[in-house]
Amino acid sequence: MNSHVRELREKAGWSQAALAERLGVSRQTVNAIETGKYDPSLPLAFRLARLFEQSIESIFIFEEQS
């Protein structure tokens, strides 16, 4: 699932490692979320939303699979 996590992170001026530390996950996890290779769990998605002060739906792009 694609997301706006990278844009939001860069706008906040954080590195992947810094964001990972704030979220309590590894840098590998942040990178995988940003590249769309990993969909976070609901608690992690909520932590992201709270950190960036946005809704989950505005951060993650849900695409219908045909």
Partner: protein, 135 residues
Amino acid sequence: MTCEQNSHGRRFAREFIISMVIYVVLVFGSFWLIRNLDLPTWGRALLALLPSVGVAMWGRAQYRYLLACDELQQKIELQAIAMASALLVFGSFPLGLMASAGVFEVPGKIVLIWILPAFSLLYGICKFWASRRFA
């Protein structure tokens, strides 16, 4: 091990090394005693089981590492364990059929002792593959 440089990765490395040192010492010590002492069967059994202490410590270290990992690393670890288990189970069954048919001879004690090393090797390969899916 693809763990990042973090506290639980370092803790796992420390606990793993300690468990392996204990395992090696106990393996050599116990089998030296078995070969050089005239022991009853129960005594030989106890000594033969001693190296399991090191293996159990390694298992505990692996479990603590798994619990401390974040969600993505847990997913990778569990996928690797599942794949390695499946490969070992479904790979060993045809070998067992062939051994039963007399295609080759393998002593049972050799097979039993190599299950854990085979699983460890498969786990390492599968973990590498699983990690690459998310890199």
